[in-house]
Symmetry: C2
Subunit: 548 residues, 2 copies
């Protein structure tokens, strides 16, 4: 029998609408038309103007034949067109593919092909690499290339497209009547993982997840209306962790920034009374270590988010000295950027810096509107003991998880098996429910039945004065199954033997964790600077073990 | 051809979960277990304890055979069991029906019957009216009656149920594994409209809308984590406008309050450092008009929401003098309480109080996560001119609109016709997009083709020194179609003739708006104090017109 609460009470147009971050800019432009939306050099653009420009972009894309589920790629730094593309492309029904500007032409060509881009918007700084990518592209389908012009870019460049961004917008309709997606599950963005193994995977975001993650950002930061957000985090990283949509929801200000440099950041903070910014530890470290004179007059109470690695004690201390408030978040491309937060507690304020750093270095707890995040035993899918010692894999579940990998059902099914998104990060969970990453699951070494964290071994190697860079991988071993194999890049002029390294490790590590193999030489890295462990694993097979 | 963005990218358990405010308390209890959740007299209850009690309630209800889509009615003031019922009932899969405690036994009996309640939780203050209602109930199905005991209630009462609330919880499981709704469209609450005409209608809320309205509350108020919320607004009004769920999302504090009295409110504000509260104008007016001594030491910057009527200038001024920050919101039961807000602008601060009052008296713009609110011509369904003069009907669209009316498909279809929820409120819209209510559509009088706002005529009548209460309705007229008919309740000892009243109206109103009929006597009112215009419309037919 159908319940009375399910009878004659269907979803209709009046009581149901797809969730989408596109509604955020629409409301803000209506309610706060005259408020500042975008700052870039001397440019000051209101929300009314910004919304009109986004509608022009959407309209112009549609007039160019680009619509529902077509991919619009962009190779842009944090400039106004990048903000606008986050609304204009999906308002046309298209899917935004923000490409990492640091990538080489081959990788960009791969993405344009794999994502089946119909248009690409290019900043002058990257016109040469995109030009090469266009030549390398395999697809023969039409690709509309759009040149952004930016007076703040002073280097050399060349026009590679058929139209400039401003001319394109001039041909669009500022009153364009865009549609919400037919389904909130429709794609809004495509973000390639940087891929330390094989080809990058295309992570597809949907409107529902983008809206909910954007709101979770507000909830975590208690981010007020009209917050002033400085764009230190690249918008090509997980759509700037969804902050273009968050800032629109808050009727805030996007302070654009072509380059992440301490002077420019402090200047922007002073000039525009910045209240919020995000970045990897290197960004915050740069600010902490800047000369005192550079910091003068910077607003107090700036809120910062750090992701990518745990903030060390020195950084937390330095941020406190600047009067900044640091929040540690963690996530992956597959979960729209951060989907956990090391939520702080008032009681922590009274602790000493070492203890505060230890607590804040944890990856924390699920993000506000994410359904669940747990550390599970990947075999049994049961939660690990909350003892701070038992390792498991961090797994996510809920609306802040990708639609899946584009054109890769095998990888999608693998990532989602057992009803959870498998992060590949190994962690322990503490009594308070907070968890801390110990290693990547691929990077764990299992030797004689004991798990060895490659991160732990690398940390010890980095403490040796001769070591510039270190990577530890598993090497197959007839007796132990696997043993740790260390690859080391030495500092200029440093001289050290494998035996010295082993002796150093023995001082700091349990015997079974000490590398049985040490290889010196330059480490292979991706274009984004990540060490390619898959390459090292291949090399480890042929490396000569030493007897310890 | 299926798009690449729709291929092999389905909703699965890992990347999709129904939205529900139940996840809010779960996360808060996990992340902030020791923080204060509920204050009631000397009771201090943490979020961990509160969550455990909610799970006990859910478990106990299920053990009593109450589960999916069963109605759990409550007749409770703003006490801890009322907070807990907002989570415990839906965690059992049930639908919470919070009944207005001021209602008479007949109406309560109607609701228990119509909503098909399987359980009712009763505060001692209302045991007698519920006892009468139980006797009047037509249904013969089992009804579990649960008696709340509350040391803060000092009046007389009697046990009418088979179990006390605390005994029920003691029999429940604090570790109960509740399920999210199978579908976020599932019902979470049933709220009867107070109904000035005919029987009350049962408005059904779903989990999706409850979650989104709760978050919209956070967004509008910039409500920070750990806000301290004082329960001046009855939780039986649109589930306290969804604030039980909002406070859980913020890991805030519910400061309970059995009675809305100035001394108790100011005491609670001081004792618990209250940051937020809501109420009808009468609540704020009571605080503004309280003796100065009573206000001493009240925290500065308390944020208040007012709904139900526009705040007059004197109230805005009084609130400012107390250092309170007042936000005007508007909505109806059908849209989860407020679904528009008179969003304020910094530029307004510089205006004089008259102008500020005029701007803030408007019902404003759509709420954050509501899809759209417009003033439409109900005939053409086109937006009215934004000229502050052309009248139309306020209509809502989106996720913050009810599932529909329970067991009333005709009324549901009528309310949602044309793809919008018809509020029945007539308004004008200004150039800035803000709208202002002029009248209820049922209350508009059309005389000789001219619309007459009954509110406008009533406002004039209230200005006559002899008038205590006034209501104006349409009276059928052979010549004019309709004419205004005034019903007046006079102040004690006042003497005035119909001719005096008409003369007074002629001074202030256009001739066609002047009542042709004036009737003296007590006005019929509902149990909640609303004037029953449907009754007056019936009486108007036989009232004798005067010649003007």
């Amino acid at each position: 029998m159908i319940s009375i609460f399910d009878q004659d009470l269907p979803r209709v147009e009046a009581n149901f609408a797809p969730m989408s971050p596109l509604t955020f800019i629409e409301r803000t432009a209506e309610v706060y038309p005259d408020r500042l939306a975008v700052v870039h050099g001397s440019l000051r653009q209101t929300w009314e103007d910004t919304y009109a420009r986004c509608r022009r972009l959407a309209s112009a894309l549609q007039r160019a034949g680009i619509g529902k589920n077509d991919t619009v790629a962009v190779v842009l730094p944090n400039t106004p067109p990048m903000v606008e593309a986050h609304f204009g492309a999906p308002m046309a029904g298209a899917v935004l593919n923000a490409i990492n500007t640091r990538l080489d032409a081959e990788t960009i060509a791969f993405m344009l092909d794999h994502g089946e881009a119909k248009a690409v918007i290019v900043d002058p700084e990257f016109s040469l690499s995109v030009k090469k990518a266009l030549a390398l592209r395999k697809a023969t389908t039409p690709l509309l290339v759009i040149d952004v012009e930016d007076g703040l870019f002073t280097g050399g460049s060349e026009r590679i497209g058929s139209v400039t961004y401003e001319d394109l917008l001039a041909g669009g309709d500022a009153e364009f009547k865009w549609d919400l997606p037919g389904d909130e599950w429709d794609a809004i963005a495509l973000n390639y993982t940087s891929g330390t193994t094989g080809n990058p995977k295309g992570v597809v975001y949907h409107h529902r997840g983008a809206a909910l993650n954007a709101i979770s950002n507000v909830l975590e930061w208690d981010m007020p209306k009209h917050a002033v957000y400085l764009w230190t985090l690249p918008m090509f990283h997980c759509n700037g962790w969804c902050f273009p949509w968050t800032v629109a929801a808050r009727a805030g200000v996007n302070v654009c920034l072509r380059r992440v440099e301490a002077q420019a950041i402090f200047d922007a903070m002073r000039d525009h009374r910045v209240t919020h910014y995000c970045g990897a530890p290197i960004v915050h470290g740069m600010l902490v270590n800047a000369p005192a004179a550079m910091k003068e007059g910077v607003p107090a109470g700036v809120k910062a988010m750090v992701a990518g690695a745990a903030p060390p004690a020195s950084m937390i201390e330095g941020m406190e000295q600047m009067g900044f408030d640091l929040t540690h978040v963690y996530g992956l491309t597959e979960v729209y950027g951060p989907a956990t937060v090391c939520a702080k507690h008032e009681a922590w304020d009274a602790l000493d810096i070492g203890e505060r750093a230890r607590l804040n270095a944890r990856q924390g707890v699920r993000y506000h509107l994410e359904r669940d995040v747990r550390v599970l035993d990947p075999e049994t899918m049961q939660p690990v003991a909350q003892d701070g010692e038992t390792m498991g894999e961090i797994m996510f579940k809920g609306n802040i998880a990708m639609k899946g990998y584009l054109k890769n059902p095998t990888a999608t099914a693998e990532a989602f098996k057992g009803g959870w998104f498998h992060s590949g990060d190994l962690a322990v969970q503490y009594a308070d429910g907070y968890f801390k990453i110990k290693d990547r699951s691929k990077d764990i070494i299992i030797s004689g039945g004991e798990n060895i964290s490659s991160i732990e071994v690398e940390d010890v190697l980095y403490r040796h004065p001769a070591v510039l860079a270190a990577a530890v991988v598993a090497k197959a071993d007839a007796k132990w199954g696997e043993t740790p194999c260390a690859f080391l890049e030495l500092k200029a002029g440093a001289e050290v033997t494998a035996e010295d390294i082993v002796a150093h490790c023995k001082q700091h590590l349990a015997g079974f964790k000490v590398p049985r193999t040490v290889v010196f030489g330059e480490l292979p890295k991706t274009s984004t600077g990540k060490i390619q462990k898959f390459e090292l694993r291949a090399r480890a097979g042929s490396a000569q073990a030493i007897d310890i």
